[in-house]
Symmetry: D3
Subunit: 236 residues, 6 copies
């Protein structure tokens, strides 16, 4: 029933290649099916002004998409002079999600910026960015630990994300673009390794959903995130 | 236990005053406790380019906050030259939510822009904007119906929204600023009159939540939205 | 002869409601006929860089108009990314005018920002903003005096403003939109309580005026400002 | 008493050199003392959208100042990405003023843009821009007349401008920078050849003025504008 | 003598992987040593306005660099709201260079946009972008030929580019970052398959060069470009 | 053969008038045929952040063109809110070129900004800007020397620039607009008084060139720059 032939509760093939760039403190190229996101983590010894002299660190994220990551070319945001509302929403989400797995006190007064750049898009880019972004963050923090710059591990748990939605009347896991573009209801579910929830964003365009449907999607998401966290573990 | 002395499942006092401006096709001033949002609906006989010759209409929203709507003055977005990420996220949410209650085919090729401007903020401004925005939209559509510009009512159901969160370890309804600023978990729940869900946005900053907690918040939200829809009915 | 039936030298009904927002140090909602402007005064313990270590304070103003304050919806300035030339001109005028009534040395090194946001427009919004802005400023300064933060009153006189113009060949006081939109000549007159002039802006679009006409308009303005200052006195 | 040794009612030396650029339809370099403004008029066979199919033309103006036209270098507006409030105010004033001397119906559906670029500033640049801008406009219109593109002369009168102010307690004509920078009250007076007023902008920073003082300044301005119009006549 | 141990006239290892994205009409990932640029070519059936109804096509380019493509993180241009001067210069150069190998009449009224995004930077990114961009362009044009959308091949020759410079007093080919950051003189040489020159950009910062040195650099460049064109041929 | 009747190796008439503005530390108006550029040099006792506490100074340049410097009016960059790519490229070139003639250590920690504003354009504006900019810089540095603010002369050599191109199949010196607009190949050559090269920018639009042609253009440029340096010497 799904365009890809997957079962309702099937993730796409997941691949996480680490240390893909020579400059970043942590990096990976995550592929979820045909969606490819290059994630890098950059450490800076300064924090945003509101954290000065608090002893707390910060993790933030930026998100971008190459103009031809999509089926038809999108205008380059740098050329149009501003990030779209969609981009801003997504990068705020990635940042909040990654901070949920961090002990900012253990991190100390430094900032890690996670850049997530979509090289190829086929649905689920923000979830792939969170899942891959966590790997880049983990690798960068490992460098801090190894160098003795932080003494206790600031990463308290895995963070991973998956989308689910109602496609052709059925709850399905990990929508690809062919599904996402027609699904009336979809959601992004961000969870820790403990399965506690970090963020739930369910949204409908031209449709609505019941609590039962929401519950089914949460079930799918929980299983999907568990698999993604296994992939994170395998990668690092 | 709550700073305001409210019970866990108490809404703040709700007031919706309609037809508050002489120019807009529909308008109301909604007050949820000390939060005050002026909502206007403006009808234009044109649609965004992507809808031309489709026979479908569009409902969109813009959100703003007066610089001194808050405890300390915020920079005026018009002066800084761009809307913040928060503003962009909120106005996209309002638009999506209101479209969930509209039959865009019955509306025909016209656009209704709902402006939600926060005169005074005390938590929950986006939910107040949705609840009040629906009233402004309803009144504007009434004008179209009365004038015979549309023949069947494009509004298919009420749309209202409420926030819930975990404050001091307890699930509470309708957070005010004193609660919202310290709650680790909060969410916005947008629902129809039928209690079907339109959008769920649960988010945590420095905390996480379980499915049981999420379920409790949904229970609170369902009751809260029902009361808000009663207030909408009383107002129009 | 006037669309509103007023006499040539009649002001519209004036109403000034004070302390309308809970956050601002001073605030009022001024209504001049159907023109409604919400004015707030915000005190900050810092001055612009050019005044540092001079012992002098600063009063500045910002002006905005809600998108549907007018008969047809205007584009939101925050969305278009810049303030129009008209907005910039008006807020510079308000700031200059209010500073004329202030002893900046008595104010000390602090800044008061007066925000004037037009909720509903029917002509004369900049004059209403000045007249109401002064009330907000007065109330904010009262707080400073009461708290002992300033010792001598930095406010040296009332400041109020009114528009006059030549409508249908006759000098008239306090143009509403129906008049303003067709008047070839109009002017804004800002005066102190002593009737000394602070600013005179007479301007013509597609017309010109004689010195005699200018003199008649000044006579009208002087009487109008006196009435507005009475309204300010009654309000505070 | 004046820094320049001029009498209270003395204009600075005025020089208007015409046809100074080979490309523009009309141009002049106006020098009022050390203030130098290059004015060009450019004709385009299109009008702003709001005038299409009305048979009316438009005259508009833009104003700029070279970064080192002033005593200390100012930031280039093109580099900072926006025109300052002062620039916007001035160019709107120039446009309104020049339109007062034009029969837009006789001009027909075309636009003339008058660019006024200050090469060297020593006070009074906006007045010099109006006086010189009119000459550039006159020369451009002469080309239209000569080519038979317009049949009756759209220019109905001269437009010229001068500043006056209260310097050291005395009303003085045509303030240079040394005076302007300390004068508490100054004004710009734009008039036709008939001595009818087009625009009066009197403004005070840290001072106020009486009607008698205003009257004295108008007397000075009237004489000053008359001399400037003589200079315009001599130039063309 | 070179940090990399290369001989003066050695290119770095060149690799060109084609068809690396599923959406673009043509694409490649070019690696010149550690410099990696993803090039995509997107075909649109419209041209810039200045070419409408001329029968001519257009090839243009955009250039970007991921924030952590470099040793320290650069600010994302989309976030800062504008492209830097360097970016603008480079993308104009890429566009001009690629157009030199195109018969725009044979291309017909369509536009091909070549996006060159630097995934990892180690010197010579603009040259890699041109060399790889040509491959993406070639592949996209092949699609047009295969589909019969163009009848004669619009590509008239190869275009490739290499940098040369004076490092430690010696002319060297294909500078990497370690060399580029200290070379006082460097240049970019863009040539056709015929060895005719398309563009020469020699520039010095804190140094100058003689005609003899320039000649040596041209000799190196000619050999380097020939090798790069061999790599292009092998790739397609 | 040339539209102007000049020989292939003829420069246009060169005129350099110095000290043309009363405010700038150095200034000149350079005319190369009908191209006129006003150049001013402004000294500031601060450097860009990256040079603080290095003992080194900085020379930078900005370039602008009046809207009607050209045959048809161009949009004012300050009004459009950004400098075009062409402007950015040119001002970076001017800055780099002028720095080639400066000993930044002798200059000390100060910045000189050279503004080059094109009053009238007829081809070759960037070269005129460099040649005239050097004169303004020389005059400003003379002031520093005279005042004893610098002890040894930071200017180590002349810098001048000329364009050459292939017009109607022939290499020609100093293209005017009539030639430049049709030449397929043109270049800008910046040299010192010693004839050492500072920058060579050869570029083709719709054409290419051989090394022999490049050599001919360099010959022409060398003679042209020598004449321009004579003109600089005569001016100062």
């Amino acid at each position: 029933m799904r365009p890809s032939g997957r079962n309702l509760s099937d993730l796409r093939t997941v691949s996480i290649e680490t240390n893909v760039t020579k400059h970043a403190e942590g990096s990976c190229l995550i592929k979820i099916g045909d969606t490819q996101v290059l994630c890098t983590a950059s450490i800076e010894d300064r924090t945003p002004p509101f954290l000065r002299n608090t002893g707390l660190g910060w993790v933030t994220a930026e998100y971008g998409m190459l103009p031809r990551a999509t089926n038809t070319r999108n205008r380059r945001e740098a050329a149009s002079g501003k990030q779209t509302g969609r981009t801003v929403e997504i990068q705020r989400l990635i940042g909040r999600s990654l901070r949920a797995g961090i002990d900012r006190s253990a991190l100390g007064e430094r900032q890690i910026t996670v850049d997530c750049d979509v090289l190829q898009a086929d649905g689920g880019t923000r979830c792939a960015a969170i899942t891959g972004g966590w790997v880049a963050l983990r690798l960068a923090v490992n460098k801090l630990l190894k160098a003795g710059d932080v003494v206790s591990d600031p990463i308290v748990d895995h963070v991973a994300a998956v989308s689910c939605g109602i496609y052709a009347g059925q709850p399905v896991l990990d929508l690809d673009y062919a599904e996402d573009s027609v699904a009336g209801v979809d959601g992004n579910f961000i969870m820790l390794g403990t399965a506690r929830l970090v963020e739930v964003q369910m949204s409908a365009e031209g449709a609505t959903f019941s609590r039962d449907e929401m519950s089914s999607l949460l079930d799918l998401a929980q299983a999907g995130v568990a698999s993604l966290i296994d992939a994170q573990k395998a990668a690092i």
